[in-house]
Protein backbone atom coordinates (compact mmCIF):
# COMPACT_ATOMS: atom_id res chain seq x y z
CA UNK A 1 0.00 0.00 0.00
CA UNK A 2 1.28 3.47 -0.82
CA UNK A 3 2.12 5.32 2.32
CA UNK A 4 3.82 8.62 3.12
CA UNK A 5 4.98 8.59 6.72
CA UNK A 6 1.87 7.83 8.75
CA UNK A 7 -0.51 8.85 5.97
CA UNK A 8 -2.00 6.09 3.85
CA UNK A 9 -2.46 6.75 0.15
CA UNK A 10 -6.25 6.83 0.12
CA UNK A 11 -6.42 9.82 2.49
CA UNK A 12 -5.84 13.51 1.84
CA UNK A 13 -4.81 14.47 5.35
CA UNK A 14 -3.92 12.81 8.66
CA UNK A 15 -7.04 14.33 10.15
CA UNK A 16 -9.29 12.77 7.53
CA UNK A 17 -7.53 9.46 8.16
CA UNK A 18 -8.17 9.72 11.88
CA UNK A 19 -11.85 10.61 11.46
CA UNK A 20 -12.30 7.67 9.11
CA UNK A 21 -10.66 5.28 11.56
CA UNK A 22 -12.80 6.56 14.44
CA UNK A 23 -15.94 6.23 12.36
CA UNK A 24 -14.95 2.65 11.52
CA UNK A 25 -14.51 1.82 15.18
CA UNK A 26 -17.87 3.37 15.98
CA UNK A 27 -19.58 1.26 13.31
CA UNK A 28 -18.01 -1.82 14.91
CA UNK A 29 -19.21 -0.63 18.32
CA UNK A 30 -22.77 -0.36 16.94
CA UNK A 31 -22.66 -4.09 16.20
CA UNK A 32 -21.32 -4.61 19.73
CA UNK A 33 -24.21 -2.61 21.19
CA UNK A 34 -26.67 -4.94 19.45
CA UNK A 35 -24.64 -8.02 20.44
CA UNK A 36 -24.65 -7.16 24.14
CA UNK A 37 -28.17 -5.76 23.74
CA UNK A 38 -29.44 -9.24 22.85
CA UNK A 39 -28.00 -10.60 26.08
CA UNK A 40 -29.47 -7.79 28.14
CA UNK A 41 -32.82 -8.55 26.50
CA UNK A 42 -32.60 -12.25 27.43
CA UNK A 43 -31.67 -11.20 30.93
CA UNK A 44 -34.65 -8.81 31.20
CA UNK A 45 -37.22 -11.39 30.07
CA UNK A 46 -35.90 -14.10 32.39
CA UNK A 47 -35.51 -11.77 35.31
CA UNK A 48 -39.12 -10.66 35.10
CA UNK A 49 -40.28 -14.29 34.81
CA UNK A 50 -38.09 -15.72 37.60
CA UNK A 51 -37.52 -12.74 39.83
CA UNK A 52 -37.23 -14.73 43.09
CA UNK A 53 -34.46 -16.99 41.79
CA UNK A 54 -32.67 -14.02 40.23
CA UNK A 55 -32.85 -12.13 43.53
CA UNK A 56 -31.34 -15.03 45.47
CA UNK A 57 -28.66 -15.56 42.85
CA UNK A 58 -27.78 -11.87 42.86
CA UNK A 59 -27.52 -11.82 46.65
CA UNK A 60 -24.83 -14.54 46.56
CA UNK A 61 -22.52 -12.18 44.65
CA UNK A 62 -19.93 -10.25 46.61
CA UNK A 63 -20.93 -6.61 46.40
CA UNK A 64 -17.56 -5.36 47.71
CA UNK A 65 -15.67 -7.12 44.93
CA UNK A 66 -18.24 -6.00 42.34
CA UNK A 67 -18.25 -2.35 43.38
CA UNK A 68 -14.45 -2.39 43.78
CA UNK A 69 -14.10 -3.73 40.27
CA UNK A 70 -16.41 -0.98 38.98
CA UNK A 71 -14.09 1.61 40.51
CA UNK A 72 -11.03 -0.14 39.02
CA UNK A 73 -12.58 -0.21 35.55
CA UNK A 74 -13.71 3.43 35.60
CA UNK A 75 -10.21 4.36 36.75
CA UNK A 76 -8.77 2.45 33.78
CA UNK A 77 -11.06 4.47 31.50
CA UNK A 78 -9.66 7.64 33.01
CA UNK A 79 -6.05 6.55 32.45
CA UNK A 80 -6.97 5.54 28.87
CA UNK A 81 -8.46 8.98 28.23
CA UNK A 82 -5.33 10.53 29.73
CA UNK A 83 -3.15 8.44 27.40
CA UNK A 84 -5.04 9.91 24.44
CA UNK A 85 -4.55 13.40 25.84
CA UNK A 86 -0.83 12.81 26.40
CA UNK A 87 -0.43 11.74 22.79
CA UNK A 88 -2.38 14.77 21.55
CA UNK A 89 -0.15 17.21 23.43
CA UNK A 90 3.05 15.30 22.57
CA UNK A 91 4.07 14.00 26.00
CA UNK A 92 5.53 10.73 24.79
CA UNK A 93 6.64 9.41 28.19
CA UNK A 94 3.21 10.02 29.71
CA UNK A 95 1.58 8.04 26.89
CA UNK A 96 3.52 4.94 27.94
CA UNK A 97 2.85 5.53 31.63
CA UNK A 98 -0.90 5.93 31.18
CA UNK A 99 -1.15 2.96 28.82
CA UNK A 100 0.71 0.75 31.30
CA UNK A 101 -1.58 2.00 34.09
CA UNK A 102 -4.62 1.11 31.98
CA UNK A 103 -3.26 -2.37 31.30
CA UNK A 104 -2.48 -2.82 35.01
CA UNK A 105 -5.98 -1.80 36.11
CA UNK A 106 -7.53 -4.05 33.46
CA UNK A 107 -5.47 -6.96 34.77
CA UNK A 108 -6.58 -6.25 38.34
CA UNK A 109 -10.20 -6.32 37.15
CA UNK A 110 -9.71 -9.73 35.49
CA UNK A 111 -7.93 -11.07 38.58
CA UNK A 112 -10.81 -10.05 40.84
CA UNK A 113 -13.23 -11.64 38.39
CA UNK A 114 -11.20 -14.85 38.66
CA UNK A 115 -11.50 -14.76 42.47
CA UNK A 116 -15.27 -14.34 42.14
CA UNK A 117 -15.58 -17.23 39.68
CA UNK A 118 -13.55 -19.46 42.02
CA UNK A 119 -15.97 -18.62 44.85
CA UNK A 120 -18.91 -19.69 42.70
CA UNK A 121 -17.17 -23.00 41.95
CA UNK A 122 -16.62 -23.58 45.67
CA UNK A 123 -20.26 -22.78 46.44
CA UNK A 124 -21.68 -25.20 43.84
CA UNK A 125 -23.18 -22.36 41.84
CA UNK A 126 -21.95 -23.39 38.39
CA UNK A 127 -24.92 -24.36 36.18
CA UNK A 128 -24.93 -28.09 35.60
CA UNK A 129 -25.12 -31.31 37.55
CA UNK A 130 -23.63 -30.12 40.84
CA UNK A 131 -25.65 -26.90 41.00
CA UNK A 132 -27.32 -26.47 44.38
CA UNK A 133 -28.40 -23.18 45.90
CA UNK A 134 -28.73 -24.88 49.30
CA UNK A 135 -25.12 -26.05 49.26
CA UNK A 136 -23.34 -22.94 50.47
CA UNK A 137 -25.74 -21.99 53.33
CA UNK A 138 -25.41 -25.55 54.71
CA UNK A 139 -21.65 -25.89 54.08
CA UNK A 140 -20.02 -22.74 55.46
CA UNK A 141 -16.52 -21.86 54.29
CA UNK A 142 -13.83 -20.38 56.51
CA UNK A 143 -14.25 -16.61 56.63
CA UNK A 144 -18.01 -16.63 56.04
CA UNK A 145 -20.19 -14.25 58.02
CA UNK A 146 -22.60 -16.52 59.98
CA UNK A 147 -25.31 -13.84 60.02
CA UNK A 148 -25.20 -13.46 56.24
CA UNK A 149 -25.23 -17.22 55.86
CA UNK A 150 -28.28 -17.65 58.11
CA UNK A 151 -30.08 -15.00 56.07
CA UNK A 152 -29.16 -16.76 52.83
CA UNK A 153 -30.36 -20.09 54.22
CA UNK A 154 -33.70 -18.62 55.30
CA UNK A 155 -34.12 -16.98 51.92
CA UNK A 156 -33.41 -20.16 49.96
CA UNK A 157 -35.70 -22.25 52.19
CA UNK A 158 -38.58 -19.79 51.85
CA UNK A 159 -38.13 -19.68 48.11
CA UNK A 160 -37.99 -23.49 47.89
CA UNK A 161 -41.25 -23.81 49.84
CA UNK A 162 -42.86 -21.41 47.39
CA UNK A 163 -41.30 -22.74 44.19
CA UNK A 164 -39.56 -26.13 44.12
CA UNK A 165 -38.00 -25.26 40.76
CA UNK A 166 -35.82 -22.53 42.26
CA UNK A 167 -32.69 -24.58 41.58
CA UNK A 168 -33.51 -24.66 37.86
CA UNK A 169 -34.30 -20.98 37.63
CA UNK A 170 -31.20 -20.19 39.67
CA UNK A 171 -29.16 -21.92 36.99
CA UNK A 172 -30.71 -19.58 34.47
CA UNK A 173 -29.47 -16.61 36.49
CA UNK A 174 -25.97 -18.06 36.80
CA UNK A 175 -25.85 -19.03 33.12
CA UNK A 176 -26.56 -15.40 32.28
CA UNK A 177 -24.12 -14.22 34.95
CA UNK A 178 -21.29 -16.33 33.55
CA UNK A 179 -22.27 -15.71 29.93
CA UNK A 180 -22.44 -11.95 30.26
CA UNK A 181 -19.47 -11.40 32.58
CA UNK A 182 -17.50 -14.01 30.61
CA UNK A 183 -18.04 -12.25 27.30
CA UNK A 184 -17.26 -8.95 28.98
CA UNK A 185 -14.03 -10.47 30.30
CA UNK A 186 -13.20 -11.77 26.82
CA UNK A 187 -13.52 -8.21 25.53
CA UNK A 188 -11.20 -7.08 28.32
CA UNK A 189 -8.63 -9.73 27.34
CA UNK A 190 -8.74 -8.58 23.70
CA UNK A 191 -8.44 -4.98 24.95
CA UNK A 192 -5.39 -5.97 27.03
CA UNK A 193 -3.80 -7.44 23.90
CA UNK A 194 -4.43 -4.20 22.02
CA UNK A 195 -2.95 -2.24 24.94
CA UNK A 196 0.24 -4.33 24.83
CA UNK A 197 0.51 -3.50 21.12
CA UNK A 198 0.01 0.21 21.90
CA UNK A 199 2.57 0.14 24.70
CA UNK A 200 5.12 -1.33 22.28
CA UNK A 201 4.36 1.48 19.84
CA UNK A 202 4.59 4.12 22.56
CA UNK A 203 8.04 2.83 23.57
CA UNK A 204 9.09 3.34 19.95
CA UNK A 205 7.72 6.89 20.18
CA UNK A 206 5.14 6.30 17.46
CA UNK A 207 2.37 8.48 18.87
CA UNK A 208 2.61 12.21 18.31
CA UNK A 209 0.21 15.17 18.19
CA UNK A 210 0.01 14.63 14.40
CA UNK A 211 -0.51 10.87 14.52
CA UNK A 212 -2.25 9.16 17.46
CA UNK A 213 -5.06 7.32 15.70
CA UNK A 214 -4.33 3.87 17.22
CA UNK A 215 -4.48 5.25 20.77
CA UNK A 216 -7.73 7.07 20.03
CA UNK A 217 -9.39 4.06 18.37
CA UNK A 218 -8.36 1.49 21.02
CA UNK A 219 -9.53 4.08 23.57
CA UNK A 220 -13.01 4.05 22.01
CA UNK A 221 -13.10 0.25 22.33
CA UNK A 222 -11.88 0.32 25.93
CA UNK A 223 -14.48 2.89 26.99
CA UNK A 224 -17.21 0.84 25.34
CA UNK A 225 -16.22 -2.21 27.42
CA UNK A 226 -16.42 0.07 30.46
CA UNK A 227 -19.99 1.07 29.50
CA UNK A 228 -21.05 -2.59 29.29
CA UNK A 229 -19.82 -3.07 32.86
CA UNK A 230 -21.61 0.10 34.00
CA UNK A 231 -24.84 -1.74 33.10
CA UNK A 232 -23.75 -5.23 34.18
CA UNK A 233 -22.85 -4.17 37.70
CA UNK A 234 -26.28 -2.91 38.88
CA UNK A 235 -28.19 -5.53 36.86
CA UNK A 236 -26.26 -8.57 38.13
CA UNK A 237 -25.09 -7.53 41.59
CA UNK A 238 -27.76 -5.23 42.94
CA UNK A 239 -31.07 -7.15 42.56
CA UNK A 240 -33.17 -7.30 45.76
CA UNK A 241 -30.45 -6.03 48.08
CA UNK A 242 -32.91 -4.31 50.42
CA UNK A 243 -33.97 -7.42 52.35
Amino acid sequence: MHRTGDLYGQFETLEQQKETASLGMWVFLVTEVLFFGGMFLTYTINRSAFSTAFGIGSNTLDITLGAGNTVVLIMSSLTMAMAVWSAQVGKKKLVSIFLIATLGLGTVFLGVKGVEYKQKFDHHLIPGHGFDMKYHPTHPMPGDDPKELALEKKEVEEALAHDPDINFHGQLYFSLYFGMTGLHALHMIIGAGLLIWLIKGSFAGRFTPQYNTPVEVVGLYWHFVDIVWIYLFPLLYLIDRHR
Binding site: E15, V30, F50, Y231, F233, P234, L238, R241
Partner: protein, 113 residues
Protein backbone atom coordinates in the same frame (compact mmCIF):
# COMPACT_ATOMS: atom_id res chain seq x y z
CA UNK B 1 -10.97 22.03 11.14
CA UNK B 2 -8.47 21.10 13.82
CA UNK B 3 -9.11 18.36 16.33
CA UNK B 4 -10.54 19.23 19.70
CA UNK B 5 -8.33 18.31 22.66
CA UNK B 6 -10.33 17.56 25.80
CA UNK B 7 -8.47 18.87 28.83
CA UNK B 8 -7.52 16.61 31.77
CA UNK B 9 -9.67 18.85 33.99
CA UNK B 10 -12.78 17.64 32.17
CA UNK B 11 -11.59 14.03 32.29
CA UNK B 12 -11.11 14.20 36.06
CA UNK B 13 -14.48 15.90 36.53
CA UNK B 14 -16.16 13.11 34.52
CA UNK B 15 -14.26 10.51 36.53
CA UNK B 16 -15.47 12.10 39.78
CA UNK B 17 -19.08 12.09 38.50
CA UNK B 18 -18.80 8.42 37.53
CA UNK B 19 -17.52 7.56 41.02
CA UNK B 20 -20.37 9.52 42.57
CA UNK B 21 -22.83 7.69 40.31
CA UNK B 22 -21.41 4.31 41.38
CA UNK B 23 -21.76 5.32 45.04
CA UNK B 24 -25.37 6.41 44.57
CA UNK B 25 -26.28 3.17 42.73
CA UNK B 26 -24.92 1.02 45.54
CA UNK B 27 -26.66 3.15 48.17
CA UNK B 28 -29.97 3.16 46.29
CA UNK B 29 -29.87 -0.64 45.88
CA UNK B 30 -30.11 -1.06 49.66
CA UNK B 31 -33.17 1.21 49.97
CA UNK B 32 -36.64 -0.15 49.36
CA UNK B 33 -38.15 1.91 46.57
CA UNK B 34 -40.31 -1.02 45.43
CA UNK B 35 -40.62 -1.18 41.68
CA UNK B 36 -38.59 2.01 41.32
CA UNK B 37 -35.34 0.29 42.41
CA UNK B 38 -34.58 -1.04 38.94
CA UNK B 39 -35.65 2.24 37.32
CA UNK B 40 -33.26 4.23 39.51
CA UNK B 41 -30.41 1.79 38.81
CA UNK B 42 -30.96 2.03 35.05
CA UNK B 43 -31.30 5.81 35.02
CA UNK B 44 -28.00 6.21 36.89
CA UNK B 45 -26.27 3.67 34.61
CA UNK B 46 -27.56 5.53 31.55
CA UNK B 47 -26.33 8.88 32.86
CA UNK B 48 -22.91 7.31 33.50
CA UNK B 49 -22.82 5.73 30.04
CA UNK B 50 -23.80 9.06 28.44
CA UNK B 51 -20.96 10.85 30.23
CA UNK B 52 -18.48 8.22 29.02
CA UNK B 53 -19.72 8.48 25.42
CA UNK B 54 -19.81 12.28 25.33
CA UNK B 55 -16.48 13.03 27.00
CA UNK B 56 -14.21 9.95 27.27
CA UNK B 57 -15.19 8.91 23.75
CA UNK B 58 -15.26 12.50 22.50
CA UNK B 59 -18.71 12.11 20.90
CA UNK B 60 -19.52 15.69 21.81
CA UNK B 61 -16.62 16.93 19.68
CA UNK B 62 -16.95 14.37 16.89
CA UNK B 63 -18.08 15.10 13.33
CA UNK B 64 -21.81 14.99 12.69
CA UNK B 65 -21.63 11.72 10.78
CA UNK B 66 -20.03 9.94 13.75
CA UNK B 67 -22.76 11.32 15.99
CA UNK B 68 -25.35 10.01 13.55
CA UNK B 69 -23.87 6.51 13.80
CA UNK B 70 -24.05 6.66 17.61
CA UNK B 71 -27.67 7.80 17.56
CA UNK B 72 -28.51 5.03 15.07
CA UNK B 73 -27.11 2.40 17.43
CA UNK B 74 -29.38 3.64 20.24
CA UNK B 75 -32.32 3.66 17.84
CA UNK B 76 -31.71 0.07 16.69
CA UNK B 77 -31.23 -1.09 20.25
CA UNK B 78 -34.53 0.57 21.15
CA UNK B 79 -36.29 -1.27 18.32
CA UNK B 80 -34.89 -4.61 19.44
CA UNK B 81 -35.72 -4.10 23.12
CA UNK B 82 -39.03 -2.33 22.57
CA UNK B 83 -40.55 -4.71 20.04
CA UNK B 84 -39.48 -7.88 21.87
CA UNK B 85 -40.59 -6.70 25.29
CA UNK B 86 -43.94 -5.45 24.00
CA UNK B 87 -44.47 -8.92 22.51
CA UNK B 88 -43.77 -10.67 25.80
CA UNK B 89 -45.75 -8.10 27.73
CA UNK B 90 -48.93 -8.54 25.71
CA UNK B 91 -49.00 -12.35 25.72
CA UNK B 92 -51.81 -14.07 27.62
CA UNK B 93 -50.86 -15.26 31.08
CA UNK B 94 -50.47 -18.95 30.24
CA UNK B 95 -48.01 -18.06 27.46
CA UNK B 96 -45.75 -15.99 29.71
CA UNK B 97 -42.31 -17.47 30.37
CA UNK B 98 -42.13 -19.17 33.75
CA UNK B 99 -45.78 -20.18 33.86
CA UNK B 100 -45.88 -23.95 34.25
CA UNK B 101 -48.81 -25.85 32.85
CA UNK B 102 -50.91 -27.76 35.33
CA UNK B 103 -51.28 -30.98 33.33
CA UNK B 104 -48.07 -32.62 32.14
CA UNK B 105 -47.77 -33.28 28.40
CA UNK B 106 -49.19 -36.64 27.31
CA UNK B 107 -46.74 -39.54 27.38
CA UNK B 108 -45.55 -40.52 23.91
CA UNK B 109 -47.55 -43.38 22.41
CA UNK B 110 -45.80 -46.70 21.90
CA UNK B 111 -45.11 -47.28 18.26
CA UNK B 112 -47.34 -49.93 16.72
CA UNK B 113 -47.12 -50.95 13.15
Amino acid sequence: MSEHIVSPKIYFAIFASLMLGTGITVWAAFQNFGKLNIVIALVIATIKATLVVLYFMHARYSPKRTQLVIICSIFWLAIMLGMTLSDYDTRPHEMQPGVTRLEPPAAPQAFTA
